[in-house]
């Protein structure tokens, strides 16, 4: 029982990482009906930015928010420069563009920083804290705390502010929003900036465990896809809950299913994607797609 609780807590921490990246995917999906395959690489690049800042002696707690601001600006710039000219292109074109962007960013990071894994600092100690018989590392607690704060902040922004209201309206009803004076095109750019910043959080908090290198996010993005699909790709809340469920599931599968171990955890993530798409394609919180034909 004690080990079980410990695996669950570890899974929640991992889930917070997936949740942040999944939320980034959902934000862009909502804005454009498009899965941004470059989301993981954008997060990876942002993590390198954080690394560069920290290795120049800037404190972690200053480098972190600074990186998020830079990631926001970067995401905004990508939307304006790369995505906007092809905004009205068929969805397949956009998908290929985000795939190309992923390859480009991956190569760019390799070119600038090289492929040697680097250790990334964590502000939390790796020691554990005994809580009612369950040992939780400070690092896991830190990850849970940071992702909670970020997810809560996004929730407040989307649900409680006028900017969030116009972001949501522009995403779902661009034509009607324009007639209400919403700058739809800028809202899409802000959506990309926001997604980029939220995704960057996942990179920064996963880096101490995975070691930082250009391919760091490639498995994480699969889990994030699983989380987003499980929660319902249109639902921000679904992405968060999906992330936690996927985190806990793969942790438990790794611990209790001997054939899964550490090697087949990614397969569990993929199995979740396939199972959800077969059984409940709209996910836990998605609404059934209704289309007028």
């Amino acid at each position: 029982m004690q080990e079980f609780s410990q695996q669950v807590v570890g899974g929640i921490a991992t889930g917070g990482i997936f949740a942040s990246l999944a939320l980034a995917l959902v934000l862009i999906y909502n804005a454009m009906g498009l899965v941004n395959f470059a989301q993981g690489e954008m997060a990876m690049l942002a993590t390198f930015v954080a690394y560069s800042l920290i290795s120049r002696g800037i404190s972690y707690w200053i480098a972190f928010p600074l990186t998020l601001v830079l990631a926001f600006v970067g995401g905004l710039a990508i939307q304006r420069i790369v995505i906007r000219p092809v905004e009205r292109a068929p969805i397949l074109t956009l998908v290929i563009i985000t795939l190309g962007l992923a390859t480009l960013l991956n190569g760019l990071a390799g070119f600038i920083f090289g492929y040697v894994p680097r250790s990334f600092p964590s502000p939390f100690s790796a020691q554990s804290l005994g809580l009612a018989g369950v040992f939780v590392s400070y690092r896991d607690l830190g990850v849970i705390a940071i992702s909670s704060v970020v997810l809560l902040a996004v929730y407040v922004l989307l649900q409680r502010t006028t900017l969030g209201l116009t972001l949501r309206a522009a995403a779902h009803h661009p034509e009607a929003s324009r007639l209400l004076g919403v700058h739809v095109s800028w809202m899409l750019a802000l959506g990309w900036g926001l997604a980029s910043a939220v995704g960057a959080v996942s990179g920064i908090i996963v880096a101490p465990t995975l070691l930082l290198e250009p391919n760091m996010m490639q498995s994480i993005i699969i889990y994030a896809f699983a989380a987003a699909v499980l929660g319902g790709i249109e639902s921000p809340l679904g992405a968060v809950i999906g992330g936690l469920l996927v985190g806990v599931t793969i942790n438990l599968a790794g611990a209790y299913l001997p054939f899964v171990g550490g090697d087949l955890q990614l397969a569990v993530g993929l199995a979740i994607i396939v199972a959800v798409l077969l059984i409940k394609p709209n996910g836990l919180f998605g609404r059934a797609a209704v289309r007028r034909v």
Partner: protein, 237 residues
């Protein structure tokens, strides 16, 4: 009366297909004008041209200012509320959030508060349903919400695209009563696109009839209403 909105020889279309072949019309300050015609005559396209939803040539002036090359956001900010075909309700949002969107560009807090009170006085049902998702509203209630949201933009001109579409006659009556009130008491000018010519002509003072992208007929509503030949050939009742 000075014209608030003026269209002169407006041509517009979608890609290679042209829909309007030189439409001229005007809406006086605080007037009600109806724009009638069969399906595909170009009524909706005319409204879309006014708020910049479709490329056009010719001239459109609102309050003496040319709307040429102006973005939809800017046109709307100058006081044009466009309630589009199909109402444009954001069904993912609550009733209250939809209303908030209408007022989101305004900074006159007291004015907004007063307009909220006004809107709830005109449509008490919206007050009751404030917290519900807009998708739970009936068709008539959604039309009321769309008009209410337009009012919260504090417009000088309202463009209404088929407010009667798909609604029961009694509901249509009550919505047109409100449109009348908005015009009389709040001084908002209205350009009304309608299939339901009878009720549109009752409300408006002037009417234009579009036929395949051109103004085929124009005149005081009462006159159009009375002329049998006009009614039979253009208005279909």
């Amino acid at each position: 009366m000075a014209a608030l909105l003026e269209l002169e020889g407006v041509r517009a279309g979608y890609g290679p297909t042209s829909v309007l072949h030189g439409v001229s019309l005007s809406v006086p300050e605080a007037g009600v004008v109806s724009l009638l015609g069969a399906n595909g005559a170009g009524k909706t396209t005319t409204l879309r041209a006014i708020t910049g939803g479709v490329r056009w040539s010719g001239d459109i002036r609102f309050d003496g200012r040319s709307l040429h090359r102006m973005s939809t956001e800017a046109i709307v900010r100058h006081g044009v509320a466009h309630v589009p075909e199909g109402r444009g309700i954001c069904t993912e949002l609550t009733v209250d959030e939809n209303l908030k969107l209408g007022a989101h560009r305004r900074h006159d807090k007291d004015g907004v508060k007063k307009d909220y009170a006004r809107v709830f006085e005109l449509f008490p049902v919206l007050k009751e349903r404030r917290r519900l998702s807009a998708s739970t509203l009936s068709g008539g209630e959604q039309q009321m919400l769309a008009i209410a949201r337009g009012l919260l933009m504090k417009p000088r001109l309202m463009l209404l695209d088929e407010p009667s579409l798909g609604l029961a006659p009694l509901v249509v009556r009550s919505i047109f009563e409100v449109i009348k009130t908005i015009n009389k008491d709040d001084g908002v000018a209205v350009l009304l696109v309608e299939q339901n010519a009878r009720i549109a002509l009752e409300l408006s003072t002037t009417a234009y009839v579009l036929e395949v992208g051109r103004v085929a007929l124009e005149g005081p509503s009462a006159q159009l209403q009375g002329a049998d030949s006009v009614r039979r050939s253009y208005l279909g009742y």
